[in-house]
Structure formats: C-alpha cells, structure tokens
Symmetry: C2
Subunit: 433 residues, 2 copies
C-alpha cells in the first residue's frame, strides 16, 4: 500500500510517510510539496489555515533531506492551532486583538515535534480564544457544514489530506468534537501529560493540548515526539473490558450516533471484548455547572488585560458564554466547583479500577456535523471527560443520514494513556471490519 | 499612627496608604515619589529591580489623582516578579536568552491590581527562570546575605520599604522562603486560586503565584484585587485549632527556627488556641522525589525551545537542577509522581477536616538567610505544601543569632484560603503581642 501511495504522498499516514522517507522512496521535500499543492488547491474552499509559510517549510524540508535523521518525525509536516505560540509565526488566537502579534518562542508541544524532525507548515484556524465564535474553516466533507471547534482548522486540514498531523486544544470538547465531525482520529491525553507552555490560557483547570491524525499509530507517534519519550507501538490487547457510558445527556445523542455506539459495542464484543454498561454515578451530573463556573471565573482573570483594554474587540458571543458567567460567579462557587472536580476524579479513578474497565465507550458528539457555519456544535459529550482529566480518543465509524462522519469515543483511566492507545489501536482494527 | 507616617509614606502598609489617599491626606503621586526616592537611595545596595519605569508610573499616579476612585488599590504602588508578563515592560525571566524581550499583555495577576487602581512600578529581580541561579538582589537586612529566591526582588523591595506590595511565584519555596529571609509576610494561595496566565511556566503541576506585603491585611486586600472579588477583612477567629507539623525534614531546622516554632506555639496557646501535634503521615515523605521528577520532566518540555535553540545561554546550575533530572525521568516515573500528589492531597484534605485543624504551624525556612549571594537557600520546608496545593503564609517572628528575620509558616486546608487569612490575622496580633 505504501509504495502505491507514494504517488499521492499527501494521503499517507505520518507513520507510512516516515517509513517511506527512511526507505528512501520519499523525501521530506516531496511530501511537503504534495501537502502544499493540496492546500493550494483546497484552501479557498476549506480555509483551514490562519497562517502558512511555504518558503520556510521548504527550506526546513531541504535541510532535513540533506542531513542526518532527526528522529521520530523526520520530514513529517504538521500544523498547530493558532492558540499556541511559535517562535517564527504570528499568533492571532482567533481574535482581532492579536492581528499580527508575534511571539518569540515555540510552545512545548511545538518544540518537541520540531526537535524530532517535523516540519511545521503553519497555524490552523481557531475560534476566538478557542471558545465558541467560529473562524472561516469549513467541513471538507460538506462545506456548508461546520468543521466543529475550537480546533477547527486542525481537524479540517488533517481530514482533507493537507497535513497528516495537527495539534489542537480542548477545554470542553475542542479536539474530540471537530475530529469526529471531520472524520479523523482525535486524542486528548490525561491532564498535564502534554505541556501547556505557550498555549494562550483559557482555563488552567481543564486546558489540555491534544492531537489529530488519520490513524491511531500516528497519534502514538506524535505523542511520543511531543512528550519526548521513546516511541513504542500501542501495546497489543485482545480482550479489553469496555463499558458503554450513557451519560446524563444520552437523550441528546441522535439516532445515528446511538446506532454507531450499539454497532461498535457489538463489533467489540464479537471480537473478544467484554462489553458491559457503566452505571454513571449521579454525582457526575454536577460537573456541568461546575465546568461552566470554573471556565467563566478563570476567563475573567486570564483575559483581564483584554477586557480592560480591548473590550470593544471581543465578541458578544464570548462575553455571553464566558465573561458574564465568570463575573456572576462568586469565589465560593468557584471553590466548590474546583472541589467537585477533585472529588469526582478520585471517584472515577476508584470505579475504573474496581470494575477493571479498560475503556468507556460513549458518543464523540451528539450527531454528524450540523449544517451552517455560524455555530461549531455542542461539546456536551466531551466536557465531562475533560473535567475528569481522563484520556479520550475519537475514532471515525460510519456516517450519518447526511453521509457525514460519525465518531465513537473511548475514554480510559486517568494518567493511563498507554492503556487508551492500546484499546484504540485494537478498536480501530475491529471497526475497520 | 497613619497620620504620623504620612511624612514617611513609603513605610505605610498598603491598607494604611489606601485609607490616607481616600481621606485626602496623601496622594498617589506623593506615595509614588516616596517609593521612588527610597528606591533611588537603596537600589545600588539592594538591587531589587530588573526594570523600572518612573515616568510611566508618574503619569499613572497623576491620572489616578485627577480621576475618580478606581477601586481597592487606588494609588498603591506594586512590583511584579520578572517571570510574569506585562503589556508595557520587558520580561527577562532572569535569563540571558530574554534580554529585551517585550510581551504585549498583562498577566492575570498584573491586570487585576491595575484595574483596581494599583500603580505598577516595575519588574523585580528573579533567579534564572524562577529556579536556583541568583540574580543581583541582596538581603536588605544584611547585604552580604541572600534575600532568598526565586522571588528575590519582590521580597527585598517590600522589606526595604521600596514598595508595599509585590507579586512572586512559587513552584517549590519561592515566595515563602524569600519572604521569611527578608522579614515580610508572604502568601502562597491554594493552587489555581490566582490565574497563571502570563507566567513563564516552570511546572504546571505546582506553579502558583503568590504575594508579599508587610501586614496580613495587605495580603487580603491584594488578594481581593488579584482575584477580582469583593474585599472583606480577614474573618475574626478566637480559638483556632493549630497543629505543629514536624515534617521529615525537622532535623534541618536550626535551633533558632525550632525555638521560634515553640515560642509561637506557646503564644498561640496562651491566647486561646488549641495547639497540638500533627502526626505527619509517612507517605508525605514520598513527595520529595515526586516533586523533583515532575519539576524535571515538565522543565524539559516547557523549555524545549530554549534547550533546542539557546542551550549555550542557560546556566549549568539549571541544567543540573532540572533538565538533567527531567531527561533521566521516564513517563512511568512522571505518571507515578503525579498520582502520588493526587493521593496525598486527598489524604491531607481528609486529615485536616477530620482533626478540624485550622492551620498547621511549621518552619518557613531552615534558618535565617544564609551568608553569601551564590545560593538562595533551601526550600525544604516549602515544596511539600506547594505540592499539596495547600495555602501557606509566613509571618516574621523574631530574629536569629545573626539578627536576621525568622519566619513561622501557617498552612491551612486546600481551597480554604479564607480560613488561612483569618488564622494569620489572629496570629499576627498574637505574635506582635
């Protein structure tokens, strides 16, 4: 397969491209040019990029082709959400306040891949401050539909074969949801597993950098480069214990989404998994309000500068979603919400271990990507796991009534991302049928 | 007292200065000029400032004097550690890599006070990246001794009456220790209580912004402005339950430090407190290694840019303290260390509640500020509480054999900073006894 695909290298996974480069059947420059051609052909339609620097990318690819192997991602192009700083590109944060702003260092999750030989193409479109107000990006599967948000450009660029890897961030559902809407694999690690240095802070309590790719193997490779740890393929697992989690919001899952969960569960069971139901503790429902309070309270202080000096340049939408909530929240409410998260995390640690669950199976989003570009969809199936600091991955699995991708989400034990990747690699094979 | 002190306004507490300004017996400009004169007279000796902008401060003070009341800190000068970004001053992070670096927004803990009418004088000296390698600052009580670190300039400036309020950060013991060495009040809130936006990240798991002042009332005032919450004087408390915590490192406390703890305990008991011993759980001793591993692991990724592009400009000392440790740590060790912190925090939440402790009493530092400027002293009595995310305050209490200040530390329940401030306000009166 790899050999045939070298004629369309932009369609290769990162792992396959890496093997081709190592084998000498592909160069970093050829791969880059294929990605740049794809971008040139599609950018007017998909609009995934906030900033591109083709000449700098070309110089970097040439240098990689001329030099020794740099590591895990030698010659692999990637994109980074425009909420994370780089040393050599503008950072706009999706806000008119920051047009032309130039930071001077690479965020932790940019520096790692670069040190491992990756080629940064540019910055992908984010919603305003990685919140709700959309950027220009469209869903590559149907340009009248949202790509999801807030990591809109990263999901669209990976889905559209413009780049094999991209970085996003998630405070509620900003990696998993756009990945599901665009039909790619999206991974949000356990809280604190990737470094947040260089990320424009929304909510310290929940902000988590995540990654997108077109295969679980690529996620594992990218993760190792970002964390600067040795790469191992996801562990082999044969009979995982998987529990369907029908959270308090289950009634918001569309028929197609519910069907995807049932179908995935059946396929998993047929392939040796023990599939059961997770009895969702009622206490978890309290995290919905807790999440809103903490996001609002922290937004007010983390954007105090912008609110004091540039309030005329922020959207009404963001003020309503975050700032008004934060300004109406008391310290006592904030403190109670932080404590509630602590308690629920400890409870979930205990429950996952007690039942020996390898993963929970739950929707990645309520439905296919909704029509229209004015909204980026609902993170209702994501904020809970983000709040719980548990690692999550979405795998594309079939399509809905409008032929748009549907994702199924696997959630594993906190701080046990290796377990999640093992289950996900197994599940990817099973779901590919 | 206030009226007499208006002739030496730089000696006023922030709260007293605020009252004088509100009463019309002092102006923001007069207070600022007194502080600037003090700085001019002492800066060659104490060297607390990395950057000063007298003209901008004067313009700001004039505007405040001409306009309506801006809030809790109307006209009050403050300094901020040069590890936190501001919109209008260079940020050097104590590193030769960042000479002349100009960020373009105020960090969360700068924007809050400014919005409440405070006058930012400048950036105070930090050690390299808020780690170990000292800057130029000297202890104002004896210029042959360290002011402590890493918030060296903030502690020295407040102690030396150059500014009534200053901001620091603590990942191990970087607020409490310099405050104790310089004889001021230092407060590190519960983790996540102050916003970290704009702080050059060391270790996301522990980095906490803190504040210094010359009175507990000032700490409470400054905290309210930073958190943008209504100000209330610390609650009245009469018979707190206080437990002496002789941690695993008790043998590193000097005789003078142990004496200060015993004397404080006796004074507290005489004034109505129930004073008991805290049976320190053995498991807490595991956090020493856990802290080192997490700080190292996170340093490698958070400084990946600097390590890749500017390694020749970082100190050998920092490489040894953090980077080498991080590069030698595995993901499994990092994960275990993070989990250990989670477990110990839950355990301490339960123990503090079960015994109904209002505060633990424990040393702020091993001893008086050590001789010499090549080292900033030992954070051995601080890292534990930072790791546990518990709020801490140091109060100056007497002096050691070299007539240098000694501090006693109070540590309260996680997320219950109001309780700590209530106990501290009570303790300050008792110790002034």
């Amino acid at each position: 397969m790899d050999a045939a695909l070298v004629t369309v290298p932009e369609r290769l996974t990162a792992a396959a491209a890496r093997r081709a480069i190592a084998a000498g059947t592909l160069t970093a420059s050829a791969l880059l040019e294929a990605c740049l051609e794809r971008i040139a052909a599609r950018n007017g339609t998909v609009a995934a990029w906030a900033f591109l620097d083709p000449e700098a990318s070309r110089a970097r690819a040439r240098a990689l082709d001329a030099g020794p192997d740099q590591g895990l991602l030698h010659g692999i192009p990637f994109g980074v959400k425009d909420i994370i700083d780089t040393a050599d590109m503008p950072a706009g944060y999706g806000s008119s306040i920051y047009v032309g702003h130039r930071p001077n260092r690479d965020g932790a999750t940019v520096a790692g891949p670069r040190a491992a030989g990756a080629v940064l193409l540019g910055k992908t479109v984010t919603t305003e401050f990685a919140n709700r107000k959309p950027g220009a990006t469209r869903n590559p599967h149907d340009v009248t539909r949202t790509p999801g948000g807030s990591s809109s450009g990263s999901a669209a660029a990976v889905a559209d074969f413009q780049v094999p890897l991209a970085i996003g961030t998630q405070t509620g559902g900003s990696v998993l949801r756009p990945a599901a809407y665009c039909g790619v694999v999206g991974f949000k690690p356990s809280f604190q597993h990737f470094g947040n240095s260089g990320v424009r802070t929304n909510t310290e309590a929940y902000d988590t950098v995540g990654v997108m790719a077109r295969a679980v193997e690529d996620i594992a490779l990218f993760r190792a480069a970002i964390m600067e740890i040795p790469y191992e393929s996801p562990a082999f697992i044969t009979a995982p214990r998987i529990a369907i989690a029908r959270t308090a919001h289950w009634d918001m899952a569309s028929p197609a989404t519910r069907q995807a969960i049932e179908d995935a569960a059946r396929a998993f069971a047929a392939d040796g998994a023990t599939v059961t139901e997770f009895e969702v503790p009622e206490e978890l429902a309290t995290l919905r309000d807790a999440h809103r309070v903490v996001c609002g309270f922290e937004a007010v202080r983390n954007y105090a500068d912008e609110l004091a000096r540039s309030r005329h340049l922020v959207s009404q939408d963001w003020l309503e979603e975050r700032v008004n909530v934060g300004e109406a929240s008391t310290l006592a409410e904030f403190r109670a919400a932080i404590r509630q998260g602590d308690r629920c995390r400890a409870m979930m640690d205990a429950l996952m271990a007690q039942h020996e669950f390898d993963a929970l199976l739950t929707p990645s989003a309520p439905d296919e990507a909704p029509s229209g570009l004015a909204h980026t969809g609902n993170p209702i199936f994501n904020y809970l796991w983000t709040n719980l600091h548990m690692p999550c991955i979405t795998l594309p699995f079939g399509t809905g009534p409008n032929s748009m991708p549907i994702g199924v989400q696997l959630v594993s034990r906190r701080h046990d991302d290796d377990r999640l990747l093992a289950v996900a690699a197994w599940a990817e094979r099973v779901l590919a049928g």
